[in-house]
Amino acid sequence: MPSVTTVPIIRVQSTDFDLQSEIDALTAGRKNIGAVVTFSGLCRDEQGALSALELEHYPGMAEAEMRRIGEIAIERFLLLGLTAIHRHGKILPGENIVLVIATASHRQAAFDGANFMMDFLKTSAPFWKKEHAADGTAGDWIAAKDADDAARDKWR
């Protein structure tokens, strides 16, 4: 039983993140963690059609929503630690967009915690992606997918 309430680490930033440092921040000096699951979301180039993604967000609300979802995930899956970092601004193919780390005593809780966090982050956290096409034409805003709502609804 943790002696203090687990609080999610939430950040929205334009710069890249360092996965190992973020894991270390959750695990250093602790000996009750049996499982660490990380999810990194990367920008794909869509077979060369995409030159970049532009990530817009609602400052303040983005962090607040991520924190709200993170607190639900910690309570639901009894996570020992949770980190969620989302980048904004221009992101090139191959670069990181988002990072989620969940730690727990056992493996399924860590998998579920990270997966849950991503499903709700995608559908509830106020971020929007705009494509920059490789041929220089004005890109479109990416449309929300029904599949993402379905993925979220599996947790009901």
Binding site: M61, M118, A125, W141, A144
Partner: protein, 85 residues
């Protein structure tokens, strides 16, 4: 009372500004009322909000349904469905 409206993504692009402070008539009580009122303000608003079903709204940075009251809201965010992650 003046209310601060903030727009994001293609709602922002179509309306042509990221935010504005507007005076709302007393008849505007719910989120739906607000969206209908905005559509009356000009072609750019009509263009941005023509399909209200896909428009998401946050009051004071919390998601709300369209039947929610906006009375007393300091800040109202209006945007398309989220596509982060």
């Amino acid at each position: 009372m003046k209310t601060n409206l903030v727009y994001f993504a293609w709602v922002r692009e179509r309306i042509g500004k990221p935010e504005e402070e507007i005076e709302l008539p007393d008849s505007v009580v719910t989120v739906s009322d607000l969206l209908n009122h905005l559509k009356s303000l000009g072609e750019e608003y009509e263009n941005a909000l023509q399909f209200p079903d896909v428009i998401r709204v946050a009051i004071n940075q919390e998601h709300v349904e369209h039947d929610e009251s906006i009375v007393g809201a300091r800040e109202i965010g209006i945007f398309p469905p989220m596509t982060g992650g």
